[in-house]
Symmetry: C2
Subunit: 411 residues, 2 copies
């Protein structure tokens, strides 16, 4: 894309009310726009990053046998009354609204109830199970205090996967598979090294554990105790001798760290299926409630987390697979349109800075935006480009063919 | 995808409260689920159709030079007060809600105000224009009466494109281009032949016309007067001698028809830009308001319209490019997994009916779901498949190679 086609511009200063690194950098670079506290719009650059993260997650969900759908945001109170969660005391983040007739509606912050209700119409026999269903859908949460930029917001895209199994054993098997899928996702988005499978409280769902994926970061709201060796962690909320013994960990081997929760997986047991009449007839002809699990990731929070842990004093440093573009092609007083076309023809995603501004401004913008490769085309480079990785300082002169080859094989 | 992976089943009867053909067929076949009046969830089959329609639209938006982004649904009243549209008397389809602090918020039914506000931070010079921005985003409309299945709902995905131009002349040029893009879209989704570029009222935006794309259908809420020869129409609301004379039409050449509005394009003039301080400095150094246009299509309504005009007594007949799958592979007592794998390897999207049910049930489900090609594999077909188009009655026996070749070249 030509940079002149983007309507955004970089800002010299972050909006002064933004205290978190991710919001400061993402707003300065033109990835997001803050409409209100806790409400962000995704500008073209941010939208591209979000889409890349979504695609990585979708790949892994399909690999798990998940089927994609999309549930409505508007919620019928009747469905939620069956589990008691229509009550603001039970679920304290509802946005509620009403029809012209005066009937109340809610905006979904999660979808266990409506999905269980839908499934109850289609599942009746043990032959109908197991089933795995997921969506990327906008959630609304009436947070008392929005904070930390993209981390705690009132409206956000969420990937939520739900599993429907015949029994605990079948459920456990799938639950373990999702752990691997989540680890693949965090590796692919560039957070693998500092993200830990974390034991956390199972309440209010079951008496066992739920599990979080926690990314080590000073910006995190959570405290975890990390075993670097085993690549697992324990959330402070369940950090007891008893729990540690059960996992085979000792306090002396663990490091206390701040972390951001980038995903979570929950055993739901039969809480929702029992309340909403989601049952099946087993092979002996007996009616059984379906065993459920839910599995969440917020792509926007993942994006914010990447920025928190991957930046320098000049701006963002995007990992390759989530970057809005792979190459930032910068022309300096010399038309680089042929290079641009060659890159496009090679199927490389490139942001082409065709603006009439100074070299200094172009370089500063490029560092702030954080595209993995910067390719400068000028009179000085004599028909070639000067290539630099955003994360490194050394440059090299390459002709277009070499440039394409290098970019294509980069990982 | 294996049909056993889908959790949906077909229904013998449509829910009795559904009066419209599109809702009856889409619910019976398992494409959508009605959560409440005017609120539908997209089940896996429906989600696939919606995604195909979205991709066709996206292609054309990018071709126009549009840049994709995504705005928030939650709305700050302050921005809407600037045009007066926070007032329920002015915009009578608001869903309103509130923060825990008691501050009011709205749910967007359209995005002229927040987008103009955002653009005002980035546009200052004539060099910053023109710009074209679009999104696929969920709108909320508090309709007094939801009706006609997917046609008039309270929550729906919308593609909204907005143009920002220096002057009327530049705007008009782009407006004409969008007409062509829209015609491409309706042709690609299979509605081209019966969709008309329609002159309609410009109010409340400007004194001139706006334009609708109207698809001839008895299920439509609108009345239009059609010139088959010129492939244009006039909405009843502006059907006057004066208007007809301006377009060069005569009443005697026009046919009165019911139609569904599947898209619309609006000149917005400077109404929003003036109210929200979106202006630029022209070449002479003078401040000018930006000239805007907006361009909508609801992919869900397009889906409903396709079903209204493309069905028979047995079910839906999907046009090729929007169909959830290209081939419905049906095995009858003989494992067709090798055929399934061959089709997948050839990059063909196939729904594989691997269920243990009767031939009659499988054929009835297949006709109801409406995938363009049905390929039956059984003992009788002797290693080959019996291929039939959903829209035709004749069948032919093909080996897998011939099958792949035929499907790949079909349009």
């Amino acid at each position: 894309m030509r940079q002149s086609q983007l309507f955004t511009k970089t800002l010299k200063q972050a909006p002064k009310e933004e205290l978190s690194k991710n919001a400061q950098l993402l707003e300065r670079a033109g990835f997001v726009y803050k409409n209100m506290a806790g409400v962000y719009s995704y500008l073209p650059l941010g939208f591209r990053v979000l889409k890349n993260i979504v695609e990585i997650i979708r790949e892994e969900m399909n690999e798990l046998g998940g089927v994609e759908m999309e549930l409505a945001a508007l919620q019928d109170p009747e469905v939620w009354k069956k589990t008691g969660r229509w009550d603001d005391e039970k679920l304290d983040i509802w946005f509620k609204t009403e029809l012209k007739s005066g009937s109340k509606l809610g905006l979904a912050s999660t979808h266990e109830e409506p999905l269980s209700e839908i499934m109850s119409h289609y599942i009746s026999s043990h032959k109908d199970l197991p089933k795995y269903v997921y969506q990327f859908q906008t959630k609304f949460r009436n947070e008392l205090r929005a904070k930390s930029g993209l981390m705690r917001v009132r409206e956000f895209l969420m990937k939520d996967l739900y599993s429907f199994s015949r029994n605990e054993e079948e459920f456990e098997k799938f639950y373990e598979l999702t752990r691997q899928a989540y680890e693949n996702i965090f590796r692919k988005v560039g957070l693998g090294e500092r993200t830990y499978y974390t034991y956390a409280s199972g309440k209010p769902f079951t008496d066992g554990f739920s599990h979080e994926f926690q990314t080590e970061s000073e910006a995190g709201e959570d405290t975890i105790f990390v075993s670097r060796e085993r690549k697992i962690a324990v959330n402070k909320e369940v950090y007891t001798d008893e729990v540690l013994a059960g996992i085979g960990l000792k306090k002396s081997d663990l490091l206390e760290k701040k972390a951001i929760e980038v995903g979570n997986i929950f055993p739901l047991g039969t809480k929702y299926s029992a309340a909403l009449g989601l049952s099946y007839t087993d092979e002996a002809g007996k009616k059984q409630p379906v065993v459920m699990g839910s599995y969440g990731i917020g792509p926007g929070r993942v994006m914010g987390t990447i920025v928190e842990v991957s930046n320098d004093e000049k701006g963002i440093i995007w990992p390759l697979r989530v970057a809005p573009f792979r190459v930032h092609l910068i022309e300096l007083k010399t038309d680089a349109v042929k290079v641009y076309q060659s890159l496009l023809n090679a199927g490389i995603e490139v942001l082409y800075d065709d603006r009439e501004t100074s070299a200094g401004e172009k370089f500063a913008d490029s560092d702030l935006i954080g595209i993995p490769y910067r390719a400068v085309f000028s009179e000085k480079t004599g028909g070639r480009v000067e290539l630099k990785r955003r994360s490194e300082t050394k440059t090299e002169l390459l002709d277009v063919k070499e440039l394409i080859k290098k970019i294509k094989k980069s990982k």
